[in-house]
Amino acid sequence: MVKSKNRVIMLADCQSFYASVEKVAHPEYEGKPLVVSGDPARRSGIILAACPLAKKYGVTTAERLGEALRKCPHLIVVRPRMAEYIRVSLHITEILQSFTDLVEPYSIDEQHLDVTGSLALFGSPDEIARRIQHRVMYETGVYVRVGISDCKVLSKMACDIYAKKNKDGIYTLKREELADTLWTKPVHEMFMVGSRMTRHFYKMGIHSIGDLAKTPLPRLTERWGVNGEVLWRIARGMDSSPVTPHSQLQQQKGVGHQMTLPRDYTDWKELRVVLLELCELVGRRCREKGLMGFVVSVGCQGADFDHPTGFSRQMKLSDPTNITDEIYGAACLLFRRHWNGLPVRKIGVSLSDLSPDSLVQLTLFGNRDRKRDLERATDGIKRKFGETAILRASSLQDSGQAQERSLRIGGHYK
């Protein structure tokens, strides 16, 4: 299970990432509490990140902006710039890659690295961690905390439980000392344990991570199956996952886009406008990557999550495609067949079973060459002049979302 040679694995975590990036970009806000919030104009917007100063006032991530302003009326509210955060995150990836080629992003602000092979070049793990901290601070202004251990889950917990709370922002969790360190910590601080799981564990008499590690495995697997075993292994620090840059990140199984609509759509005439926009996005991404897909899936959901409505269905095409019209044709067919007419709030289209588009079977019917030429031209215009340089006329209708969507990443402003 565990490799004979001890690895040295780190997790580098950026402190209040979005807020830190904004503070560096706006030196005038130094020493003032700052939050990044979905839409500063709306008090119902949510806090995406709060700087350490704002956190001192009791502001937490994911709470409503109105609430945060009540706790701290002079709070500085900034709207998100997602594209910038992605750029900074990749800059940090690049810095980490100057220490080892084994770097794997876990989220926008957390990345694992395996420095086992770099020790001879850069010194002890602590030294490497300090150099990483220093360089990231110098080049991006972001403070990173580093958890060090010999596997990914322990490095994650070294960071979350210790490095985030100590003075240096660096902590090494040694396997030999688990009984005196990690195992004394309450179980809710463990990686992958949420509030619901904590409640279940308490009922079973499991209070600390050590209690969980000493619980016989069958007691956990008979209740939670594989997930029980996953948690048990995390508690014991059993983890052989490699740090790999060639993770599933790079292979693509499908290309999909979905969007949450600004209001409920109930009319097919409105829905088909957004459906076409989604098919256009999916088609374009596939064309850009040189891929074609065989299977079109369509899904939709109502606004009320307590009474879920909607469907998710897929169909196989007669030939693989990346032509917008053909994807749209299949999506419409699926939608008309399965939609029960109830209001729709969220809608998505995806294309899967992908293959390279360098080889195509000639079809007897339809005029694929013409469509392909047309899309090559429109894709080129969009690449050069921006997403909204050329649009379908239908997107100009009130129900169209293409223009609004082009301003956002992950639902937040670019």
Binding site: M82, A83, I86, R87, S89, L90, T93, E94, Q97, E104, P105, Y106, S107, I108, H112, K152, V153, M192, V226, N227, E229, V230, R233, D239, S241, P242, T244, P245, S247, Q248, L249, Q250, I409, G410
Partner: protein, 116 residues
């Protein structure tokens, strides 16, 4: 055995990344790998020579593709001279940067603009 218990399964299944971040990361990784220039088939080479010669004599526009890191460069413009001895061409791009010499071995594709 479940996927979560082997390989990188635990982290693959719990990773949280925006699709845009993912795309940008993939591009970033691709730029790290050095590309090798494609081997050009003699017939393709002949065809490119023919296209460029035709462009030189008729004065029509061509689009040439140059191999470069991290990605290929595409230039549209006119061929002013072909220097067979030095294996290079004098090329005037539409971008308005003035004529320049381009080595033949850097060119991996040539298409006549009027031919499309």
């Amino acid at each position: 055995m479940s996927k979560k218990l082997q390989g990188n399964g635990l982290f693959e299944s719990s990773r949280m990344m925006l699709p845009e971040h993912r795309e940008a990361y993939i591009q970033h990784q691709q730029h790290l790998v050095h590309r090798t220039p494609p081997l050009i088939d003699p017939q393709a080479e002949e065809e490119m020579a023919r296209v460029m010669a035709a462009a030189l004599y008729t004065g029509s526009a061509v689009t040439i593709t140059l191999f470069d890191e991290p990605e290929d460069i595409r230039l549209t413009g006119h061929v002013l001279r072909i220097d067979a001895a030095r294996r290079q061409i004098r090329f005037d791009g539409d971008e308005g940067e003035g004529p320049e010499w381009i080595r033949l071995d850097q060119i991996i594709g040539a298409v006549a603009e009027s031919g499309i």
